[in-house]
Symmetry: C2
Amino acid sequence: MTKNNCGLRHIVVMWRVKVAGLSLVAVSLSVELLVWLLRRLRPRKALNEALFFPSEIACVEHIFTPSSPHSCVCFLPHGVETSFSRLLRHILSTSSSLDLCVFAFSNMDLSRAVLALYRKGITIRVLADKDYTAITGSKIGVLHKAGICVRCNANSVHMHHKFALVDGRLLITGSLNWTLQAVQGNMENVLITEEPDLVQPFIKEFHRLWVLNDPAQCPKPSDQKPTQVFTKTSN
Amino acid sequence: MTKNNCGLRHIVVMWRVKVAGLSLVAVSLSVELLVWLLRRLRPRKALNEALFFPSEIACVEHIFTPSSPHSCVCFLPHGVETSFSRLLRHILSTSSSLDLCVFAFSNMDLSRAVLALYRKGITIRVLADKDYTAITGSKIGVLHKAGICVRCNANSVHMHHKFALVDGRLLITGSLNWTLQAVQGNMENVLITEEPDLVQPFIKEFHRLWVLNDPAQCPKPSDQKPTQVFTKTSN
């Protein structure tokens, strides 16, 4: 009996050790699973950025030619990160498509950025205001001549938007018209976001306006103004 | 021995039942903990909304007098939810403070909304563009006469912002000036967000501009234009 009791005690102790071991394994597995699930379920934080203007005046040549950042010898300050350089970088980050819907577009650096993207093979669509397009200094004609697909509003008082959609992913919008005065003179804001709840409605609205201002869809072509020569239907 | 063996088997079976029970309890507790943690760690989704204009023209009387929504007998469509009615609702949702930074402000309904909030005791600060303030139809003078604290920009070409901060929590911004033409005529956008990464920089910028345009802080009072009679330093 004593031998049996010893054996029994031994078995009980062993079981207790096994239970403790199993519990430890269960706890460590649960913690690992929890960490893995949290990593999987927590969404990647969307980019949200606000820029304010007037922007500090600085050379932006290094943004256009990152391979030779010290090549420019102009008199402006170099290597300074400004609201405008941030805006340029976001636009130049486009890798597949750029949709622009801008009331006033006369800024040379922004025009240069759009043309550089176009030469890289980026799909670009521009919706412009018909009245502002006709103004001296507007870059809409330059973009059109380069081959970029441009449409102008036909029916509304003003196409007063100032937004861009980068790769259907990033929204750039705000009060800032794409002019030198807006960038260097005015108090303005630009908001940059990847938030899908904000980006998606703008994509939908761009598509709606793009179709709406397609001359092929217009019931009365005779109503269209001369500025609509900038319209292409190939995109 | 047979009796002992039976007792031993019984103990082993009981231990196995206990282990199985403990495992079930451990699993259910882990699942409960996981659900609780996920609920705690997943942040409340911030409001993000995009409105597009021109807005459908409809009566907004029921928004100002929600207690008697059918009192208006005007000829406009009633009970229609439009971009403009959404914008009005967001502004009228203010419960403690409203900071406005708007280039052009001539819209009667928006002016009525701001005055209604002021009469309810809401703290209101308005930053306006000095040139647009002097234009016939601007509501900035009306707001100032009612006692609302208004400051105008002194140094920049244009104070071209069009944003509002509701209770330091909600940002309303976009291309839309607070005019009738913008609301009913133009293609415009308004973006409404609670996203702290977007709201906080606008709060900071408003504060910066508010201090910058405080006449008491200006080094050269003689430079200030007549429109700055709208400036109050009491807030």
